[in-house]
C-alpha cells in the first residue's frame, strides 16, 4: 500500500468512528428523554451527536474528496470524442468520491437517523392541552392577600406611593396569581368605567405578569404612576386601568377587584378582569 492509501484508510476509520459516536449519542439521547430526562446528560449527548456528525463531515471533506482544480491541456482544435473523455473523468471522480464510500454513507445515515429519531420525541412534550387553566388564576371571591412569606396584608400596611407583591392566601406558589398592590392618593384614582368599586382606600391591584412576554412588571415609577417591565420596556399607566402607553405590550394589565374586610385585611372580590399574561391563540377577547 502507498502512503496515501494508508492515510486514506485511517481517515475512513476516523470518520466512521465519529459517525458511530454520533449515532450512539443520538440513540442515548432518545432513551434518556423517554425515560424522564436529565438536562445535563441530554446536553452532553446532543453535543456528542452534533459534534460527531460535524467532525465526520469536515474530515470527509478535507481528506477524502479530491482537492484543488485539475489543470490539463486541451488539444486545439478539440479532438473528436473529447466531450466523452471529460464525461468519463467526471464519472470516475464521482465514483471515487462517493461510490466507494457505501460504508461511510451507511454510517452517516445511521448518525443522522439516530438524531432525527431523538428529535421526534420532544413533540410529545407539547401536550397535554392546558384546558381552561390559562383562563383562571387562584384568586377567588374573598381570597385574602398575603405577601410571599404568607403574612396577610392589612390595608394600613401600605403607605401612599407604596407597592407590594401579593398572592392569594395559601397559594404563594401560584406564579400566575402574582399581583402588585399599589396605594395611590385616593384623589388621583380615575377608575375605568365599570370598575368604580374595584379599589379600596386608594389601593389598586394589577396582575404582575406582563401581557407582552410574561415578565414580572415589578418596576413602579411613582412620579408618573407607571408600571415598567424590565424585559422589553412596556409601560403601563396605573391611573388609567394599566393601559399600555409605551413598549411592545398591547393589552392592559388585568385588574383585580379588591376590598377591605371588617378586620382590615385586603381581600379579592373575584378573579382578574381578563386572563393574565401573554396572549394565546384562543384567548377570549
Amino acid at each position: 500500500m502507498t502512503v496515501t492509501e494508508i492515510e486514506e484508510k485511517r481517515a475512513v476509520r476516523r470518520i466512521a468512528v465519529a459517525f458511530a459516536i454520533s449515532a450512539l449519542a443520538g440513540l442515548s439521547l432518545a432513551a434518556v428523554y423517554v425515560s424522564g430526562g436529565q438536562v445535563q446528560a441530554e446536553g452532553l449527548l446532543l453535543f456528542l451527536a452534533l459534534a460527531g456528525l460535524g467532525w465526520g463531515l469536515a474530515e470527509w471533506a478535507a481528506k477524502l474528496l479530491p482537492s484543488g482544480p485539475e489543470v490539463g491541456d486541451y488539444a486545439d482544435p478539440p479532438r473528436p470524442g473529447a466531450e466523452r473523455e471529460v464525461a468519463e473523468v467526471v464519472e470516475e471522480g464521482w465514483e471515487e468520491s462517493f461510490g466507494r464510500r457505501k460504508f461511510l454513507f451507511r454510517m452517516l445515515g445511521a448518525a443522522a437517523g439516530a438524531m432525527g429519531l431523538a428529535l421526534v420525541f420532544p413533540i410529545r412534550s407539547l401536550g397535554p392541552s392546558p384546558g381552561t387553566s390559562l383562563l383562571r388564576t387562584a384568586w377567588r371571591r374573598g381570597s385574602r392577600m398575603v405577601r410571599e412569606d404568607g403574612q396577610p396584608v392589612r390595608a394600613a400596611d401600605l403607605a401612599v406611593e407604596g407597592i407590594l407583591t401579593v398572592f392569594p392566601e395559601g397559594q404563594t406558589d401560584q406564579a400566575d396569581s402574582q399581583t402588585v398592590l399599589i396605594r395611590l392618593d385616593p384623589s388621583v384614582v380615575r377608575p375605568v368605567p365599570g370598575r368604580e368599586d374595584w379599589t379600596a382606600d386608594g389601593l389598586i391591584a394589577y396582575s404582575k405578569i406582563c401581557t407582552h412576554a410574561g415578565c414580572p412588571v415589578g418596576l413602579y415609577r411613582v412620579a408618573t404612576h407607571d408600571l415598567f417591565c424590565p424585559c422589553h420596556q412596556s409601560t403601563f399607566d396605573v391611573l388609567n386601568g394599566a393601559k399600555p402607553i409605551a413598549g411592545p405590550a398591547t393589552r392592559a394589565l388585568p385588574q383585580l377587584p379588591i376590598e377591605v374586610d371588617d378586620e382590615g385585611f385586603v381581600v379579592a372580590k373575584g378573579d382578574f378582569s381578563e386572563p393574565v399574561g401573554p396572549a394565546f391563540w384562543n384567548m377570549p377577547q
Partner: protein, 234 residues
C-alpha cells in the same frame, strides 16, 4: 474572623445627632433660605422648579443632602450621588428645619448587628432587586431614569431611601418593611460589597442576560475557530 467583621466597624458608628435645639432649626432655616429656597420656596412649599419639602421629614432632607443629590444644578436633571455640599452639622441643621415644617419620617436608627442576612436577601429580592438589580448594581427603569447602584450609600441612607421613596422610587414605610427588616436589607447590601466574585471576572455584575451575551461571543467565537481548524485542508 476579625477580618470578616472588620468591614462592619466603620458602619456601626452611624448614631446620629441628638434631638436638635431651636438654634439648630434657626441655623437650618438660614441655610435653607440661602441654598434651597430658589426651587423649594422660602417656606418649603415648592415652586415651579421644585417640589414641596413639607412632610419630607428629617430623613428626606438628610438623604438628599448627605448623598449630594441636593442642591441640584439643573432642576431638569435626575439627581445623582455627588460629594455632599454641606458638612454633617449643616446637614443636621437643615434636616431639623425641614422636619419642623411638617410631620415626616425621622432619620432612622440602623443597627446592622440586629439584621438577619438571609431575611435581608429575601426581602431585597422581593422588593428592591427589580429596579436595583439582584447584585445592587442598579439599572435603567425606563423614561431616561435609572435606579442607582447601592454600594456607596451608608446604611442610614439606604433605610432613608426606603422610608421616603426619593425621586421615582416607591415608599416602603415601617408598616410595610419593619425596622428589623430594614436592618436586614441594609446588612445584606453591606455584605454584598465585601462578598467578592467567586466566579472570577465580575463584569460589573451587569446581570445574567448581559453576561450570557459575553459567554456567547467568547464561546461561539472559539467554536468558529475550532470549526475552521478541523475543516482546513493540509
Amino acid at each position: 474572623m476579625l477580618a470578616g467583621a472588620a468591614w462592619l466597624l466603620p458602619l456601626l458608628g452611624t448614631a446620629h445627632a441628638a434631638t436638635p435645639s431651636p438654634s439648630d432649626v434657626e441655623e437650618g432655616r438660614t441655610l435653607f433660605e440661602n441654598s434651597c429656597s430658589s426651587c423649594h420656596g422660602v417656606d418649603g412649599k415648592g415652586t415651579n422648579l421644585g417640589p414641596s419639602v413639607v412632610g419630607s421629614g428629617a430623613a428626606g432632607a438628610h438623604f438628599m443632602l448627605s448623598t449630594g443629590r441636593m442642591p441640584l444644578d439643573d432642576p431638569n436633571h435626575q439627581p445623582i450621588r455627588k460629594p455632599a455640599a454641606f458638612d454633617p452639622d449643616q446637614i443636621a441643621q437643615i434636616s431639623a428645619y425641614v422636619a419642623s415644617l411638617g410631620p415626616g419620617p425621622d432619620i432612622p436608627e440602623v443597627d446592622l448587628g440586629r439584621g438577619d442576612l438571609v431575611e435581608g436577601q429575601q426581602l431585597y429580592s422581593e422588593n428592591c432587586a427589580a429596579c436595583h438589580s439582584s447584585a445592587g448594581a442598579g439599572g435603567a427603569v425606563g423614561a431616561g431614569l435609572e435606579a442607582p447602584q447601592l454600594h456607596k450609600a451608608t446604611p442610614v441612607e439606604l433605610v432613608e431611601a426606603m422610608r421616603i421613596g426619593p425621586g421615582t422610587m416607591p415608599v416602603f414605610e415601617e408598616r410595610t418593611i419593619s425596622e428589623e427588616e430594614a436592618d436586614s436589607i441594609a446588612r445584606y447590601l453591606v455584605y454584598l460589597r465585601g462578598s467578592g466574585d467567586p466566579g472570577g471576572l465580575s463584569m460589573g455584575r451587569i446581570g445574567p442576560i448581559a453576561e450570557g451575551f459575553v459567554v456567547w461571543l467568547v464561546g461561539v467565537g472559539f467554536l468558529i475557530l475550532v470549526c475552521r481548524r478541523i475543516g482546513e485542508k493540509e
